[in-house]
Structures are given as C-alpha cells and as structure tokens.
Subunit: 213 residues, 2 copies
C-alpha cells in the first residue's frame, strides 16, 4: 500500500514501513451501541424438549427490550451453511463446529446468539465453550423426560426411530449426554412463560442485560 | 408438544393439531429497530487492492451513524469457520460458498455484512448474488492496477508468487475475472476518504441508509 495515501487513524506502520489496516469497530463499541452484552445462549436437550420454541420465545422478549438477537436452528443452518453435511458422526461433529464458529462471529458482531440444537455430546458442547471466553457461553439444558418428548413428537421422529427407520436417534439408539455444569437447567415440562422468565432473570443477574434496558 | 401448554402468540396448530413454534422476530423487525436496511457489501479485487482497508473504513463510518455492521475477511474466517479448507479450486469454492451463507444469516440478523475477499471468479460471486434477494447484494469492485498492487504488496505475496513460491496466485498465475455489472466500481488508487464517501453516498441513494440517520 502506498505510504501516506490512506490517511486512516486505524492504520499503523509495521517494521517495514508498510501501511496496514486494522478494524476500528470492535465488539466493545458494538456492545456500547446496543446497550447490552453479546453472549451465546446454547440450548441443548432431546428432540422435542422445546429448545427451538424456548429460544424463539426468549428472543421475542429480548427484541422487545431492543436487544440484537439471532436464533440458529436446523431450519436456517442445515439448508444453508451446513447443507453439504449428512448425519454421520463426523458430519454431526463438523455441523456443531461450524455452528460454534458462526456463533463466535455473531457475538463479535454484538448480537446475542441463541442456538437450538440437540448437541448430545458433552465433548462438542465443551469445544464451543472453550472456543469463546468463559463469560460468553451460557449452556441451557432443556430438561424434559423422554416420555414427554415422545408424547409431543410433532414431526413423528420418535415414532420413526422406534420403528427403526431412523438410525442413531438421540435418546433411542444414540446417547444424550446430560450437561454436568450447565449455567441453567430449565424444566421444559413447565409452562413456556415460566421457562422464559427464568432465563430473562438470569440474563439480568449475569449483567448481559442492564436493569435500565 | 403438549397441546395448550405453550401459550405463545407465535404458535399455530398444524393439520395434525400439533402445536408448532415460529420465529416472531423477523428481519423486518430488526431493520426497524436498527433504523437501516441490512445488505451485503461484497468487496472484490486483486490482492492489495485495498478491499479490507476500504471495508473497515466504511464500517467505521457506518458505526458512527449507529449502524450494525460486521466485516468478514481472511483473518476471522480462514482461522475459524473455514479452517478445514485449503487453497485447492474446490476448497476455494467452498470457502466462498460458506462466506455467502454466513453473510445471508448476518443480513437476516439485521446487520450490514461487509466481505473482503479476492473472490476472483464471476461464477462464485454470482452464486452469492443469487443466494439472496436482488436488493441485498451490492458488489463493489475495488479496481486497482496490478502494477500498483505489486508495488504495495504489504505481505510480500506478489514477490513470492513471482518467485514461484505461491501457486495459482490471482493476477500472476491465476485469473481475476472482473465484475461485468457491479453495483459500484471504486478506483482504489484514489485516496481512501474519496472511496469511502462514494460508497456512503451510494448507500443513501439506494435507501440502505436514511437521510435522517
């Protein structure tokens, strides 16, 4: 880059006297503008435990408080960014890895990321936790008995899994590893409003949201 | 999901009388909150043409006008979401595909995405254009002569490419396909402030930003 042609404050010279650019808009400046912190709310739990419903309901509350939010779920990830991936162990792992990396970028953008994936393996969830700062990752275990999940079964997936039509179905033929130290355990057999309130209170307590928000 | 347990406005019943959730926070609501539209500003051009410098400088201006922004560049993508990818033709294509999909999610989140990648192939850029709505994609060709790019060469890449140390280097041993109908052509041999002003004016003209912003 020609010396002196790009008069931006953010530039600095390197040892070779070469002008180089830097990002001046940081996560901190974005959080100040937004008046809230950005974090990952990682919802995990069995299929039909209510992860996506709960994530969207929390998002609605956050939006009404002028927070910047985005929900990642199967609908917007599996058909796009991860459409090249199948359901093998390797592909599932890569799927979660990409969601983690994307969430990391989203919080860098100042946005609260809400992710709704079964994410049954502790190792995968811990990998995301360590990808970001300790303060940035809030693991929310949506606890719901298998019996209730099977009773809900809106897409008939449990029925198909029981019939042997779906292989390696979490809770039936593949394990769900419960979180050991999640930031929140939400009993999603309770009414939705109670679940949402619990999470919102936690976000205030933790300083993600301010009481003035 | 148990009927009647989740009393959320966003739910609706399907033909099977099953309660199902929907996202209630839409891109439109986010754009209203942000007071600007979200778009992809896709900067393309030779290595050292100034794409990243320009993208960050535009982002600074946008942030000062309270816009929500994020810059994707090699620094935050190649080490994260795309760290499994190399530089083969296939991997480069996949790299651009993922950046496109991620940009699509970012604009859904109401954020202005600025991407700074050589993206030398028309086919790849057009693929991103067609991934989103016509209004969402603004291709910005950072036009700079190869001679000036080689003279800048802050990372010594052209030198290494000329020495045969880097294979398939755009402009030297691999083609750069100029955009045929980009929304903007910016002569990045001009001072940075002029380049930034030109883009900002365009964003007002196009209604991405409002004059009251």
């Amino acid at each position: 880059m020609k010396k002196g042609r790009y008069p931006l404050n953010s530039e600095k010279k390197t040892e070779k006297n070469i002008v180089w650019h830097h990002a001046t808009v940081t996560r901190e400046r974005r959080e100040t503008l937004n008046k809230h912190r950005s974090v990952i709310l990682w919802f995990t739990g069995l299929s039909s435990a209510g992860k996506s419903t709960l994530a969207h309901a929390v998002e609605e509350q956050l939006h009404q408080k002028n927070c910047r939010t985005f929900v990642f779920d199967g609908d917007n990830v599996r058909h796009g960014l991860c459409k090249d991936l199948g359901f093998s162990a390797e592909d599932r792992h890569e799927n979660i890895r990409r969601i983690g990396e994307m969430s990391k970028l989203i919080i860098e953008a100042g946005v609260i990321a809400l992710t709704a994936f079964i994410s049954p393996f502790r190792k995968d969830r811990d990998q995301i936790r360590h990808l970001v700062s300790q303060d940035d990752f809030i693991e929310i275990y949506c606890r719901c008995s298998l019996a209730v999940c099977e009773q809900r079964d809106p897409k008939g997936l449990y029925q198909r899994a029981r019939a042997g039509e779906i292989k390696e179905f979490t809770g039936i033929t593949s394990p769900y590893e419960e979180p050991e130290n999640p930031e929140l355990v939400i009993d999603t057999e309770q009414p939705l409003t109670e679940c949402v309130d619990r999470i919102m209170r936690y976000l205030y307590e933790r300083g993600v949201l301010r009481l003035s928000t």
